[in-house]
């Protein structure tokens, strides 16, 4: 075992995949300047050259469309979105073009595109730099969506995303970037569509999306001795691993989903809908979703923290359900 940070795991995955396949390239703002603002492309320019590491002007619509057009004609772009809300500038290119071209062409067009989108909240950067947007992309047919919450998953899921033949939205959380975790040496893949049971328990199933995995594990620790919490990190939202979530609900009869996006029309609502549809008879309590406040995130630290689900909120919600 060795220690590696989340962002270095992402860099390592790209190094391996670019060495493996010449059609893989990286495009986005600042990716060719000192390893990018998040240090998410360190060493790529030096190793693979300017042809395969393309820093762009701030023209999200053009370079998103460019990535799609290049994928239509044989390349496998890794498209970096510096802050995920910047996607909105290119929404036609994401939702009308990238999402729809494979289907509209009757399957003649394949789009092996990985969108690395840096997301997250709680960093006091205010509403236009902090928003959880996974539900928007989940709602539009045509994307796979993953949200790694560990260093191991960041590398393994990114490698699977790059090798996949459809657009995969790979949502990174900047809060996780720089803290080292133990990982194995060498290469590994994490398949898309597989949840991770982060902690086994028998009383309440807590399903997390992205960063709240850590908060749910902290809450489970606090509740030790009173409530035995099972924490399932969904990891992949499309495809969604209903077998793992369902098996947990069959055991506990209680489901809480935690994410940072607002509850209204969120991914948690969809997970609850599917559990109700497929595992209704196993539920012993009303399934719940704990999410962010239903408003653009405010700047002031006290205000922002109050908008996001915290460890105490998870502890309280679990207590009420158990």
């Amino acid at each position: 075992m060795r220690k590696l940070t989340y962002i270095d795991a992402i860099v390592e995955a790209m190094h391996e995949e670019m060495a493996r396949d010449e059609s893989v390239y990286v495009i986005g703002e600042d990716v060719d300047i000192k390893g990018g603002v998040w240090k998410g492309t360190v060493g790529l320019l030096e190793k693979f050259g300017a042809k395969r590491v393309r820093g762009t002007p701030i023209s999200e619509a053009a370079f998103t469309g460019l990535a799609t057009g290049s994928a239509m004609t044989g390349l496998r772009p890794i498209l970096e979105i510096m802050y995920m809300p910047f996607c909105y500038v290119a929404m036609d290119q994401f939702l009308n073009q990238m999402a729809k071209l494979p289907a509209m062409s009757g399957g003649q067009i394949k789009l092996p595109i990985t969108i690395r989108a840096q997301a997250g909240a709680g960093t006091r950067e205010a509403a236009q730099h902090s928003q959880s947007q996974e539900a928007i992309f989940l709602h539009i047919p045509g994307f796979k969506v993953v949200m790694p919450a560990t260093v191991y998953d960041a590398k393994g899921l990114l490698k699977s995303a790059i090798r996949d033949d459809s657009p995969v939205l790979f949502i990174e959380d900047r809060n996780l970037y720089y803290e080292p975790e133990e990982v194995p040496e060498g290469e590994w893949l994490v398949p898309l569509g597989q949840a991770d049971v982060a902690r086994t328990g028998k009383d309440v199933s807590v399903v997390t999306l992205g960063f709240p995995r850590r908060k749910a594990l902290a809450a489970a620790k606090q509740l030790e001795g009173t409530v035995d919490v099972e924490v399932i990190d969904a990891r992949s939202l499309e495809p969604l691993d209903m077998d793992t979530i369902g098996a947990s609900v069959m055991k506990t009869g209680r489901l809480l989903v935690v994410h940072e996006a607002p509850v209204r029309c969120g991914a948690g609502a969809e997970i609850v809908r599917r559990v109700v549809a497929e595992y209704f008879d196993y539920l012993d309590a009303e399934p719940r979703v704990l999410g962010g406040a239903n408003l653009p995130l405010p700047f002031s630290p006290v205000l922002e923290d109050a908008c996001l689900p915290q460890v105490n909120d998870i502890v309280n919600a679990v207590r009420q359900m158990a």
Partner: protein
């Protein structure tokens, strides 16, 4: 080129009849009157060059070598269609001949073509990519982003504006501060050429230069091809353009096909023979489409 233009014209006239008869449904945008542009451009292209089309794209596909049978089948929503019935009029695809699809969003295909140009440069191929768009596309920000990137990275990219003077039903005079769209190239330091879009030779000459420049690694070109759409914007929208304007553009001397016929000194009997040949191919295409099966439910699940 005369044959190609006439094929497009007669195909579109057939589509219009079938649309009126209810055999073709949906949104149909006809290319009648604009045939010289796709024809002149494609005459300068190879099979391995890329074309990204618009909502008004039947002519672009025919000029690139599209199969009339599969096109007609697509318009009738059949499984044998060039997009297996999943796309329809605005989303025909034939990647095997470099036809990378129509687009229902004005300007939406421009950065996609930029990506194909990028891909060609990346792979060391000498293919070029053409983005068609109308004067309506000139008002989209992504065009200007794309021209900048194409110029900066010297991509083999050719932006072809089919300036038919109306964005849906709004005239250029009402939307644009500058009416000469070729000037939009200058800030990016690439050639911008204004062309008589109803003269296939003029279009071809300009396209040939643009293609040669792109293949030689010298970068992008913007063509502003002036033309006029003879039909209304779309099958369902009434045409309230001024009658005198329509009469002027509708004069036989302004028709791109007639101009070409006169120049080539093709006699009326020779022309009638050519027309009959094409019509017979269209009969076959319509019959093929009619006889083709409907797609199976679920067959467009990507």
């Amino acid at each position: 080129m005369l044959r190609t233009m006439l094929s497009i014209r007669l195909f579109e006239q057939r589509v219009k009849q079938l649309y009126r008869a209810g055999e073709i449904v949906g949104a149909i945008h006809l290319y009648i009157g604009e045939e010289a542009i796709a024809t002149g451009v494609s005459e300068a292209l190879r099979r391995d060059d890329y074309v990204f089309s618009t909502h008004r794209g039947h002519g672009h596909l025919i000029a690139k070598g599209g199969d009339l049978k599969r096109m007609m089948a697509e318009l009738m929503g059949k499984a044998t269609g060039c997009s297996r019935g999943c796309g329809g009029s605005m989303h025909m695809f034939d990647p095997s001949i470099g036809f990378m699809g129509g687009n229902g969003i004005v300007g939406g295909g421009i950065p996609l073509a930029l990506g194909a140009a990028f891909s060609a440069q990346y792979r060391g191929a000498d293919s070029v990519a053409v983005a068609y768009f109308g004067d309506g596309g000139m008002y989209q920000g992504v065009l200007h982003e794309s021209l900048n990137l194409a110029a900066k990275w010297k991509l083999p990219f050719i932006a072809v504006c089919e300036n038919n003077r109306y964005a849906a039903t709004t005239p250029v005079a009402k939307s644009a501060a500058s009416h000469d769209f070729s000037t939009y190239a200058a800030p990016h330091g690439i050639p911008g050429v204004r062309v008589d879009g109803n003269d296939c030779l003029a279009v071809h000459k300009a396209a040939k230069q643009a293609v040669a420049r792109a293949r030689a690694g010298q970068g992008a070109t913007l063509l502003d091809c002036e033309t006029y759409r003879v039909e209304p914007h779309c099958g369902i929208i009434p045409d309230d353009r001024p009658q005198e304007e329509r009469d002027e553009w509708g004069r036989i001397e302004n028709d791109p096909i007639e101009r070409s016929r006169r120049r080539l000194k093709i006699t009326q009997p020779q022309f009638a023979k050519l027309r009959a040949e094409i019509e017979s191919g269209l009969d076959e295409a319509v019959e093929f489409a009619r006889q083709s099966p409907m797609p199976k439910i679920g067959s467009c699940d990507a």
